[in-house]
């Protein structure tokens, strides 16, 4: 029996899986954000957010602009422009590292100058957990980006790998979007 072959094109599995992971991660972040919002103003001892927190505008801009650079990097890879890819991908890593440095110096200041640790009060517990969870995701993303960079410097990344770089860029965009939420919750609403 012959049956006419219907045409059907299935979506690529990489982006589908990454969107699923992003959905799961969003749920994790939602719970931490809810806990942060729920505990605003409930700390029984100091320091309070308004006394010690300054919005890290510069570092946030660095992280957000890294979304643009990784997009340009993937576009360059698609068109087979290896050198442009290396440049944009490298600047993404650099911007991510600058952001992490910002978090590190903020934490250093909070711990050593203001005496706020994760066990000091509810603010400390929720602040370090939420910002730390995001920072952990930045670190994970950076490790992946650096792995790709190493292969790129060895010259093994070609336009064939553009779909995979695209999947990774989805994750990086997600990390950036989460920062917008965390920034709003911690430095705008919570202060």
């Amino acid at each position: 029996m012959t049956i006419p072959q219907p045409n059907s094109v299935m979506p690529a599995r990489g982006p589908v899986a990454m969107y699923s992971l992003i959905a799961a991660e969003s749920a994790i972040f939602t719970i931490f954000v809810v806990a942060y919002l729920f505990y605003i103003g409930k700390s029984q001892t100091g320091p309070q957010p308004k006394d010690v927190l300054d919005a890290p505008i510069f570092y946030s801009l660095c992280l957000l602009s890294s979304s643009l650079t990784i997009h340009l990097a993937v576009e360059a890879l698609r068109k087979g422009r290896g050198r442009n890819f290396n440049m944009w991908w490298g600047s993404t890593i650099l911007l991510g590292v600058i952001f992490l440095f910002g978090t590190a110096s903020e934490w250093h200041r909070l711990i050593y100058r203001d005496g706020l640790t994760i066990s000091t009060n509810l603010f400390g517990t929720t602040y370090y957990s939420l910002v730390g969870l995001h920072g952990f995701h930045v670190v994970a993303g950076l490790l992946c980006l650096i792995t790709v960079m190493a292969f790129a410097l060895m010259g093994t990344v070609t336009s064939r790998h553009a779909p995979r770089a695209y999947v990774l860029s989805l994750y990086w965009h997600f990390v950036d979007v989460v920062w917008v939420v965390v920034f709003t919750v911690v430095y705008v609403i919570g202060r």
Partner: protein, 557 residues
């Protein structure tokens, strides 16, 4: 349909050394082998969790009994609940999804075979971690071994002050680790169903099992993740001195309840939706009719998926929420009964006028229908806040959720075991033993869990170590424990049937049930690559089309 099954040589190949075969299984990334490993792993823990339940019931057989110590009793019900949900029900559901989904959608494997193996070993590691607490938790503190905080581990029981030592740490870590495994598998199932379907299999032509597992996997993403987040918070509290659930520092014990039940209630649906999936495949085949109301079935499942995420606080009526919150959660809970009722009517509509064959899978399916209905009815009773205030945390509640998990989910799983056993093993199980299993287990189930409602109505609280005579609970507890004997014998018959049939059973052939979905077009058991050529389908019942070229389904769909 372009898959003609090939004739396989019957000559026996000399069996390979044991180490070789073990190495193959440990390093495998094949979805069928991983599926079977999930299922065997879950069966192993089913026996352990069953033994724990049996000891609990022996302790409660008569008043003022001291078969075990109160401390051990607390550990037993904690381990029983945690084991049964996280290391029996979840892996068994994932095991069947792993095995069946690629075969049913005409794919050669899951979308990410290595992620699949990783997820399985994470889940396996989680189970080992939970039971390693028996050895490891004692540690330096000399303070209890296995976790004893209950399966939902309410704060402040889990705080360092009330849970010294490491038993609670093992509990939270094992759930965290197996949660990562669950999320990995869910992503994999989702990507497989969305991206790996064979040509012609549009979403509307997928077998219902694939559809329902798609919904289940999406729910896992949104539901297991909050539990993971809550476990991270608990770890921060216990190891880093955080205050998330520490009421002395302004933290909230109720927040933990919310976070737990945001997971906990949809979890029931994560388990029961695959049970619905088995029913939706098995009932049509043994009624010799196409499923009634396919699109409504899909819509009802998606509806249940959404609704189930908005009902969690009906587990918390007794903590004193506002009346607005109570009303909302009563109404949303009642609303779930609508899509669920639609499903029951669809299965009945499928059976109506069919030529019903009372094989073992069908017997368990019919048992499922009755018992799921009753479980749903007591669910509506407990979903009404005033009733719940009276009977929450009583044995009525325990009877209700065991009716769901044993009477519905486990019965559906047994049906699935018997239905797909010939496909997985290549051997036919013994129908006589299967019927013995069904009748023994059904009798035991009703003795135990029908009767268990009564001491609950008479005021017997759950989780008590023992009780005094003269409250009118004695006879009921005795009958409940007697029911366990029948269930245990039924399980023994079941396991014996599986093992005996594997070695001595008759070859089953490729399609023993004259069924209609793609997995029955492969050999039994299917070859590693599943399909020599990827099939093309035109209807929801591709094998029907193949067997009846004169009257194919695609003319009518």
């Amino acid at each position: 349909m372009s898959t003609e099954t090939m004739a396989w040589p019957t000559a026996r190949v000399a069996s390979r050394p044991f180490v070789d075969r073990l190495h193959e299984w440990v390093t495998t990334v094949d979805h069928k082998q991983l599926g079977i490993m999930y299922i065997l792993y879950a069966l192993f823990f089913l026996v352990i969790g069953g033994i724990e339940a049996t000891i609990i019931r022996i302790q409660l057989i008569r008043p003022n009994y001291d078969f075990v110590s109160p401390q051990l009793f607390n550990r037993l019900f904690t381990m029983h609940g945690t084991t049964m949900i996280f290391f029996v029900a979840m892996p068994i559901v994932f095991g069947f999804a792993n095995y069946l989904v690629p075969l049913m959608i005409g794919a050669r494997d899951m979308a990410f075979p290595r992620l699949n193996a990783f997820s399985f070993w994470m889940t396996a590691f989680g189970g080992l971690l939970l039971y390693f607490s028996l050895v490891g938790a004692n540690g330096l503190y000399g303070a209890g071994n296995a976790p004893d905080v209950g399966w939902f581990a309410y704060a402040p029981l889990t705080s360092l002050a009330f849970s010294p030592g490491h038993s609670t740490d093992y509990w939270t870590l094992s759930i965290l680790v197996s949660g990562f495994g669950s999320i990995g598998t869910a992503i994999n199932i989702l990507a497989t169903i969305v991206c790996m379907r064979c040509p012609g299999m549009t979403l509307g032509k997928m077998p219902l099992l694939a559809w329902l597992n798609l919904v289940m996997s999406s729910m896992v993403l949104f539901v297991v993740s909050p539990l993971t987040a809550a476990q991270i918070m608990l770890l921060i509290d216990r190891f880093l001195g955080g205050h998330f659930f520490d009421s002395q520092a302004g933290g909230s014990a109720v927040l933990w309840m919310h976070f737990f039940w945001i997971f906990g209630h949809p979890e029931v649906y994560i388990l029961v939706i695959p049970a619905f999936a088995f029913m939706s495949e098995i009932i049509p085949v043994f009624s010799r009719k196409v499923i009634f109301g396919y699109p409504i079935m899909v819509a009802a499942t998606v509806g249940i998926g959404f609704l189930s995420m908005a009902v969690w606080a009906h587990h918390m009526f007794t903590i004193g929420m506002t009346s607005n919150a109570n009303s909302f959660f009563v109404l949303s809970t009642m609303a779930v009964s609508i899509p669920t009722g639609i499903k029951i009517f669809n299965w009945l509509g499928t059976m109506w006028g069919g030529k019903i064959q009372f094989k073992t899978p069908m017997l368990f399916s019919i048992g499922f229908l009755f018992q799921f209905l009753i479980a749903g009815l007591t669910g509506i009773m407990l979903g009404a806040a005033p009733f719940d205030w009276q009977l929450a945390a009583s044995y009525f509640l325990v009877a209700h959720f065991h009716y769901v998990i044993v009477g519905a989910i486990l019965f559906a799983l047994f049906a699935a075991f018997y239905y797909w056993y010939p496909k997985m093993s290549g051997k036919m199980y013994s129908e006589t033993l299967g019927k013995w299993h069904f009748w023994l287990f059904t009798a035991g189930f009703h003795l135990t869990f029908d009767v268990m409602h009564i001491p609950g109505l008479l005021g017997m609280p759950r989780r008590i170590y023992t009780y005094e005579a003269g409250r009118g609970w004695e006879i009921w507890n005795l009958i409940v424990t007697i029911g366990v004997v029948f269930q245990a014998v039924g399980i023994l018959v079941f396991v014996f049937n599986l093992v005996w049939s594997y070695f001595r059973g008759k070859p089953s052939g490729n399609d023993p049930w004259d069924a209609w979905t793609l997995e029955w077009s492969t050999s039994s058991p299917p070859p590693a690559y599943n399909f020599a050529t990827i099939p093309t389908v035109r209807s929801r019942r591709p094998l029907w089309d193949l067997k009846h070229p004169d009257d194919p389904d695609w003319k009518y769909e």
